[in-house]
Amino acid sequence: MMQKFQTVVLEKALNHLLDAQQIDIGALEGKILHFSLQDLPVEVNFICTNARIFVTSDGVEKVADVDIKLQFESFLALIRGEDLTDLLRQDKIMIHGDVKTAQLLVDLLQQVDFDFEEALSKWTGDIIAHEVGKVVKKFKDADNPLEAIKDEAVNLLIAPKRFH
């Protein structure tokens, strides 16, 4: 399960993106989406209300409108623009509940034009953001991001000087 402070960070990031890009989440007003990654410790509720998204890790009394379970790889595929129905047909996503609400969330996420480096540079400065951006891009473009992360960790242990 995500740590509480991680949900705060995710909530701030999501809402910052929505505001900065003036994305209207009206279609999701009042909806609760339960979202979990099967291969990473990520399990959250997205509560869409009052023109913003709240992110919680527990404590929701109302039953979620939709429960979405998928692997991290499938999540990346969705963000890159793959069709939700195609992924459903391939059993790469499990959805219980209102599929239309799930589709609305996917449409929203696909609208977001996220320049990771630009966002991070506000906190770390341009050089670090660029270096981190290169690493993240490598993982995002990899066929198997988890394996890519493990490979990089092994490389770091064997040849740390490469990373200076």
Partner: protein, 247 residues
């Protein structure tokens, strides 16, 4: 049979508690901020910073800060909501509210509305605010459930409740240190710095009588909030309860 409630470890008549709490805050108002820094080693600033970060408040929002005292949260909220938003700093105690007004004026913060009110009877219409907060004030309220119900009433659908308050740690060693610090050190510091040992004795006692994390979470959900989760800070010595009004 007379209804009683707790004032620290003492049982007092329910009607008496409010005036007793007023007496405490009349006494500590002028040294409140200094004592917060000294007693918490400055940690209260981090707890409040975390509360603001968790608020999901944005430009144009309307925020009600209850028992806002000297204005820490109100100042931070005012920066977030901007000129198109509104912040109401409220407190039941006139001395604390005056300190809040002075602080905000000295820091160049304008546009905040100051209202003297009781959390048990909030004089605002239903569905008025995007966020309602109460930091280190709920434990002093006589009828906490009523206060939480009132906060629910004045929040808009989708509004966010924030309760920042001392709570219970389940780390045994920390609890031992905290008890020693609360009952042996804090009242002595209160005597030296604020010339008021009794008020800081009350502080230590009132913390022990306050509901723990799960009990407060249940109170928030019972008031009608559709979601409530708490974040333990400093090992659970302080907890932030965040409730969302879901229609």
């Amino acid at each position: 049979m007379e209804k009683t409630t707790h004032f620290g470890f003492k049982d007092v008549a329910t009607e008496e508690k409010q005036s007793l709490v007023r007496g405490v805050f009349d006494s500590v108002a002028s040294k409140y901020d200094l004592m917060n820094d000294v007693l918490s080693f400055g940690a209260h600033r981090l707890w409040k910073h975390y509360t603001i970060a968790s608020s999901n408040v944005k430009t144009g929002d309307k925020v009600l800060d209850i028992a806002g005292g000297t204005g820490d949260l109100a100042r931070a909220f005012a920066m977030k909501v901007g000129d198109s938003g509104q912040v109401v700093l409220s407190d039941i105690n006139a001395a604390m509210l005056n300190e809040g007004r002075k602080n905000l004026l000295n820091k160049g913060v304008s546009g905040v509305e100051f209202v003297q009110l009781s959390g048990e009877q909030i004089p605002f219409a239903d569905n008025s605010f995007d966020c309602a907060s109460i930091a280190f004030g709920l434990r002093n309220v006589t009828d906490k459930e009523q206060c939480i119900r009132e906060m629910y009433r004045v929040l808009k659908p989708g509004g966010c409740l924030l309760i920042l308050e001392f709570s219970k740690t389940d780390i045994a060693l920390l609890e031992k240190f905290y008890n020693m610090y609360s009952f042996s050190v804090m009242p002595k510091l209160g005597k030296i710095i604020a010339d008021d040992e009794q008020s800081y004795q009350y502080l230590a006692e009132s913390i022990r009588k306050h509901p723990d994390q799960e009990t407060l979470k249940k109170m928030v959900l019972d008031a009608g909030f559709g979601s409530c989760e708490y974040h333990n800070l400093s090992g659970g010595i302080v907890a932030l309860h965040k409730g969302i009004k879901i229609n």
